[in-house]
């Protein structure tokens, strides 16, 4: 149905990627393209989606066959251009970073899901029925009237996937579709993909880890440094020793050194986060059945040296709670104390040296021209001299293995590196409380291990970490305890010790 035969692909004058990589996806196939950061899986996904990057200085040599049509590329300016409107009617693509894929022309989730088929002229009645069906399959029905720009990360991800699924394409290519999804939402998405596949859609899923569950007969193409390192059935891939290429398996325990295992914490340690009877309500949205869950009577205490995982379904209030720790959101009632500072009416910026915040959406967090300037911003804003700030920034970058990228523009880096730059920015400011929103989303095995070490060192050094996460394996390995939220409340059985 679709076949990619890549001789080579280069970004600007960079090293060649995907040399000699071929992939054929037939009707009803499920293919997992697995690889660590920088392995070339996003490049491959974009090629399948018809984006050869010729307009952005990239060069592709090879051929793409869709049905009976073969388009050949020689890596020259005279290469053919793929008509995105025509191609995307047959090959749907869900890129990484759900927010960037919103049309910004829809006031509700229902319109956003309907955007693609409406553009292709699906009759109104059919369109409504299709939206209802897809929404029901992905448990989005209660959200249909909500503004898509105000959804939680996981809800937004499901909306973007629904918008692709509704098109019933011949081929569906998804780049890390399960990023930021809770277990139930991930199951819903997997079921929707499986239903499509049974109807004859070829499904290609790019992921940093091998999946723990996949349809029978699923194939794996594993990439490392732009080369093919394995191709075959998923069952064989799990035994193929792909860990040496940084490709782990979902659900498998992390392999951590002794210095990374959480150190015991005494209950008498200094309390760094104290939340008492915190209540917060979001304003009601126009047309919505109900506003997003706020927070209802949340109590939480975290002492120095502790790593606490905030868990619960998408939209349960995890990010909202984290945003109260550094004043991005302000409580309607109750009290919040972070790093000894009572959060009152002080500006958010004044709390940055006490509480560091990692946003779920990395790209809205990076705003400087170079990585070094980006990471120096925090220390500079805290009043440090330029040289000192740069020194702190370089230390943080080195700790995350990013020293060589100090002069690069953040947009030139891959997703995992950008995520790490965002973390380095937080570290360089030196806050004692770290509030991290889905820190492992989209990270490959080596980056997850590195992050685990960084969190453990921060906790051992007398700081504390609160992280909202769906990554059960990471939370179990790194956190001292998990606190479960549901509908803006801490579940009664939720405060589980390790």
């Amino acid at each position: 149905m679709i076949a990619l035969d890549s001789t080579r692909f280069t970004y600007d004058d960079g090293a060649p990627l995907l040399a000699g990589v071929a992939l054929t996806v037939a009707a009803g196939d499920h293919v997992v393209v697995a690889g660590a950061s920088g392995s070339g899986k996003t490049t491959l996904a974009r090629l399948l989606a018809g984006m050869t990057g010729a307009d952005a200085g990239s060069s592709f040599t090879g051929a793409i066959t869709l049905g009976a049509e073969t388009v050949r590329f020689r890596g020259t300016p005279g290469d053919p251009r793929i008509d995105p409107a025509r191609w995307s009617a047959r090959v749907a693509y869900v890129a990484q970073g759900a927010w960037g894929q919103l049309s910004m022309m829809s006031s509700t989730v229902a319109e956003e899901i309907a955007f693609g088929p409406a553009n292709r002229g699906m009759p109104a009645q059919e369109l409504r029925r299709a939206v209802d069906d897809v929404a029901a399959a992905l448990h989005l029905t209660p959200l249909l009237g909500r503004d898509p720009r105000r959804l939680s990360g996981g809800q937004l991800q499901r909306t973007v996937i629904a918008a692709a699924v509704i098109q019933q394409p011949e081929v569906l290519v998804l780049d890390e579709p399960f990023q930021g999804l809770d277990d139930a939402a991930a199951r819903d998405v997997a079921a929707a993909l499986e239903a499509l596949r049974r109807n004859g859609t070829g499904v290609v899923v790019c992921a940093p880890l091998l999946p723990s569950h996949a349809p029978q007969g699923a194939r794996v193409l594993a990439l490392a440094d732009g080369r093919r390192v394995f191709e075959g059935p998923l069952t064989e891939a799990r035994r193929a020793g792909l860990r040496r290429f940084g490709i782990g398996t979902q659900g498998e325990p992390l392999r951590l050194g002794d210095d990374v295992v959480p150190a015991p914490v005494g209950p008498a340690g200094p309390e760094l986060v104290a939340v008492h009877d915190l209540r917060f309500r979001y304003p009601r949205e126009r047309g919505a059945a109900g506003p997003p869950a706020g927070l209802t009577g949340v109590d939480l205490s975290v002492v120095a040296g502790e790593v606490v995982a905030l868990r619960g379904p998408n939209g349960s209030g995890k990010s909202t709670l984290l945003q109260h720790l550094n004043g991005l959101s302000r409580a309607d009632s109750g009290s919040v104390t972070s790093g000894g500072v009572r959060i009152g009416r002080q500006p958010t910026g004044a709390l940055a040296a006490t509480v560091g915040y990692l946003f779920q959406d990395t790209d809205s967090q990076l705003f400087e021209r170079t990585v070094l300037r980006e990471v120096s911003y925090g220390p500079r804003a805290a009043g440090m001299r330029k040289d000192d700030a740069a020194r702190r920034a370089l230390l943080a970058l080195d700790a995350l293995g990013l020293g060589e990228f100090a002069g690069a523009h953040p947009y030139e880096l891959g997703f995992v590196q950008r995520r790490m730059v965002a973390l380095a920015s937080l570290m360089a400011t030196g806050p004692v409380v770290w509030a991290l929103d889905e820190p492992t989303a989209g990270l490959d095995e080596p980056a997850r291990t590195l992050l685990a070490g960084v969190l453990a060192r921060h906790a051992r050094g007398g700081g504390c970490v609160l992280m909202a996460t769906h990554d059960a394996v990471f939370a179990d390995a790194v956190a001292h305890r998990s606190v479960w939220l549901d509908g803006g409340r801490i579940s009664p059985e939720g405060a589980t010790p390790r």
Partner: protein, 249 residues
């Protein structure tokens, strides 16, 4: 609270465009000022977010005003009443008057169009254009252009939050606010430039530029009465403009 919608967005957009046409045709400062004070000002105040819209108008119209003042205020060959002679440039009463008139007119243009664009219900506008069977390319151009405004606003909001989380303190004074605005502008513009090609590609990939007929998820909110009103508005402005231009000395 945003204002309650009375008219179809297409009617609102057309009214804004016709108002600009009238300002151009009439070409009198009294009329431009009247449009600004009696049309734009109440619309901005009732929009539900007068500060944001006011700021956008100031950001766009400010540089235009300044350039008009520099260009015509200092270099106006017809100027006779010289206020200051700077050698290569002369500040004249006539030049300053012309600069003020041009500036006022440009301010009215930007204010009318920006207010309309910022308060439009974009999904409803696209739905109306689709139901009315408008040319697809036009729907694409209008949709992408007007859709950029909420996109820019959302992105600016996110960057500001990220900067605040990293230590940017925005005080209550106008100076501090201006500084915060400048801090957000650079990353905003760079981000938008980077986004531009990706966003067009994303819209294309979702079929926004596809050939063939479009359909709409939203029901048609347009009414025959609104359509008659729009035709009447166009006819009235057309007739008035012709009469005005013919009757003008």
């Amino acid at each position: 609270m945003p204002r309650r919608r009375i008219y179809n967005p297409l009617t609102e957009l057309l009214a804004a465009v016709l108002l600009v046409v009238l300002v151009l045709v009439v070409d009198r400062w009294e009329f431009s000022l009247a449009v600004l004070l009696l049309g734009v000002l109440p619309a901005v105040l009732l929009s539900g977010r007068p500060r944001q819209i006011g700021l956008v108008i100031a950001l766009v119209a400010g540089p235009l005003l300044l350039s008009s003042l520099l260009l015509h205020g200092l270099f106006f060959p017809e100027g006779t009443t010289v206020l200051a002679d700077l050698g290569v440039a002369r500040v004249t009463v006539e030049g300053l008057t012309f600069a003020a008139l041009m500036g006022l007119r440009m301010t009215v243009f930007t204010a009318v169009l920006l207010t309309a664009a910022a308060t439009l219900d974009l999904p409803d506008l696209l739905a109306t254009m689709t139901h009315r069977g408008w040319n697809r390319k036009l729907v694409f151009v209008v949709g992408s252009a007007v859709g950029l405004i909420p996109h820019v606003a959302e992105r600016a909001h996110r960057i500001t939050r990220a900067q605040q989380a990293r230590g940017l303190v925005v005080g209550r004074g106008p100076l501090s606010r201006m500084r915060a605005l400048l801090t957000v502008l650079t990353p905003l513009v760079i981000g938008l430039l980077v986004d531009a090609s990706e966003r067009t590609r994303m819209l294309e990939a979702r079929g926004f530029s596809s050939p063939g007929p479009r359909s709409s998820y939203l029901p048609d909110s347009d009414t025959p009465r609104q359509r008659r009103t729009r035709r009447a508005m166009v006819a009235a402005v057309g007739v008035f403009s012709a009469a005005w231009l013919v009757g003008a000395p």
